[in-house]
Amino acid sequence: MTNPVKIVWRKELRDAIRDKRSVMAAMSYAFFGPLLMAVAFYVMISQLTDPSDVEIDIQGAEHAPALIEHLNSNGIVKREKAWAAGQQPITLEIDASWADDLAMAMPAKVTLTADFSATKQRGDINRIERAIEAYGSQIAYIRLQMRGLDPRVVKPIDLVKHDTATKGSRAAILMGSVLIFILLSVFFSGMNVAIDISAGERERNSLELLLSQPLNAHQLVLGKALAASCFAIFGGVLSVVLIPIIFRFLPLHNIGISLSLDWTMMVLIVLMLVPLALFATSLQLFVSFRAKSFKEAQTYISFLLMLPMLAVFGVEFARLKNPVLYYLPLTGQHQALLDIIKGESLHWLPMGISALATLLVSWLLIRFIGRMLASEKVVFGL
């Protein structure tokens, strides 16, 4: 018990646990984050798998009752209500010469007027197009049969489309955001504690006295970093445990994804978060020990939070595939998490190396903060 690191760690942890703001900060991210994400996904999924009718303006319906019947049975109906503001009307116009054209076996004209660049209506427009094309081919088949031809002669190739593209990319986005969320949880959860034990200590005027005690500055920083890391890990564990639970209530199977984590995977993820938590808190301590006050530190740290986001999103969107990413702090954990969630085989060596690299960088940061605190310029702002 006489190890100064342990003494500082114990005291800071006790202090932080009594700080309702710190505890709330650590918990709320882990609690409300997945909930918020779940709501967003719920909306996304229900939009994707929307079975409700498409309501459009239909002009000249009286010319082609059979077509209208066909459209109705495919969930495309005449609109009764007015279009909402900002929504482009979709209009289907059936030419008056419809019956004559059909009788003469001439192409009957149907005009579809819509904003084809409106992404929200893309699905609706596609459904209309498909329904009309299907009706067209039905008529074509009947005509061929009546002329004694096998309709298959005009269909030399049977292209079977398995539409996994949209679902696949949606799933990637969903998984990617779950991952980023888990990674960021360690950055968010320890943040308040990190600020309180560094900039807060300075603001309370207790830093100078603490530095005048018989312990090295880096022991002090290490004790503090470990205390804040405990909070970071706590938040990480909470989100790792809560995400699968909350996502169980989402109809993920509707868009063809499953998110199942067995407990060994969860333990593995938490183990990977441990070095990352230390890394996150040392970065935060580094920044907020330089700040004069709690407020100032909060400003700096909110910028600091951009760093992991940029790193992770950058890799995601730039589709970087450099093997170095597996070995670096943060990106290494990100890649390993991707592999875990996708259910791919794990690269143990890179995982170990990135964990060690993360620990090493954190250790160097802590040593550096220690040296910083030995400097009178930083401590007294001289």
């Binding site: 018990m1 100064p4 005291k11 006790r14 100078e208 006295l209 530095l211 009178e376």
Partner: protein, 244 residues
């Protein structure tokens, strides 16, 4: 014994310490008296090893604070210029924290903490959290932190600032008691009455150097004044005269 030898410290163009030398022997209360900005706090920070002097040394029982700051700090108790308490910890926990930092853990730590709390007559507030403590109660916690490891040297930076009469009395009684036990006490102040009432030896500091040194009596004789305040003004004034 606290010894300061020819300390010099420059902050940019400002000379904070300009060859300051004095000593605070055991069993005595030494007052560091000087106007604001004379270099008192800088001097004390050098003794804790928080500031590195440009030249000169500070010794705690022969240990160079610049070379072995941790060793030096083990032997001193500090009552700082500004003390912040950990609002969410109880008085007892704060004192125990400092005891632990000085290597007093477990049983020994508990005993030392209890003794310090008892000595300052603060057992009643010992298990209350610091939020809501009065200024006097806060001072007691800070004092208990400073003496919990029974240091042979006690350094106080402007201790009586903002204290009420009762707190000041407690502080004085404690200092006299510790002096009787052979502690060397060094305290900085710009309050004349405080210094006159307590100190065995007064070191008058002005512009980073010792302007005069001696007992209250000696200082008065030196300047031909009857009150320390007059003597003080005269010493500082004379010094300024010479410097100009």
């Amino acid at each position: 014994m606290i010894e300061v030898k020819d300390l010099r410290k420059q902050f940019g163009k400002v000379t904070a310490l300009d060859g300051l030398s004095f000593s605070a022997p055991e069993g005595q209360i030494t007052g560091l008296l000087g106007p604001n900005g004379a270099g008192k706090t800088t001097c004390l920070r050098t003794i804790y090893g928080l500031l590195k002097p440009d030249s000169g040394q500070a010794f705690i029982d022969g240990i160079d604070a610049g070379q072995q700051p941790l060793e030096a700090r083990r032997n001193i108790g500090i009552f700082p210029d500004k003390f912040g308490l950990y609002e969410r910890l109880t008085a007892r926990e704060q004192v125990a924290y400092f005891a632990a930092l000085h290597g007093l853990a477990g049983e020994a730590g508990d005993q030392a903490t209890e003794a310090a709390l008892q000595r300052l007559d603060m057992l009643e507030i010992a298990d209350r959290r610091a939020t809501g403590f009065s200024q006097g109660q806060r001072m007691k916690v800070a004092l208990a932190q400073a003496i919990v490891h029974s240091p042979k040297h006690l350094i106080l930076d402007e201790p009586s600032r903002g204290l009420d009469v009762m707190s000041t009395r407690i502080l004085r009684d404690l200092l006299r008691e510790l002096r009787a036990q052979g502690t060397s006490i060094l305290f900085s102040s710009h309050v004349m009455q405080e210094v006159a009432a307590l100190c065995d030896q007064v070191v008058v500091v002005a512009k980073g150097k010792v302007a005069a040194q001696g007992t209250t009596q000696e200082l008065c004789e030196l300047t031909g004044e009857t009150a320390l305040e007059e003597a003080f003004v005269k010493i500082i004034g004379t010094d300024e005269g010479i410097a100009a």
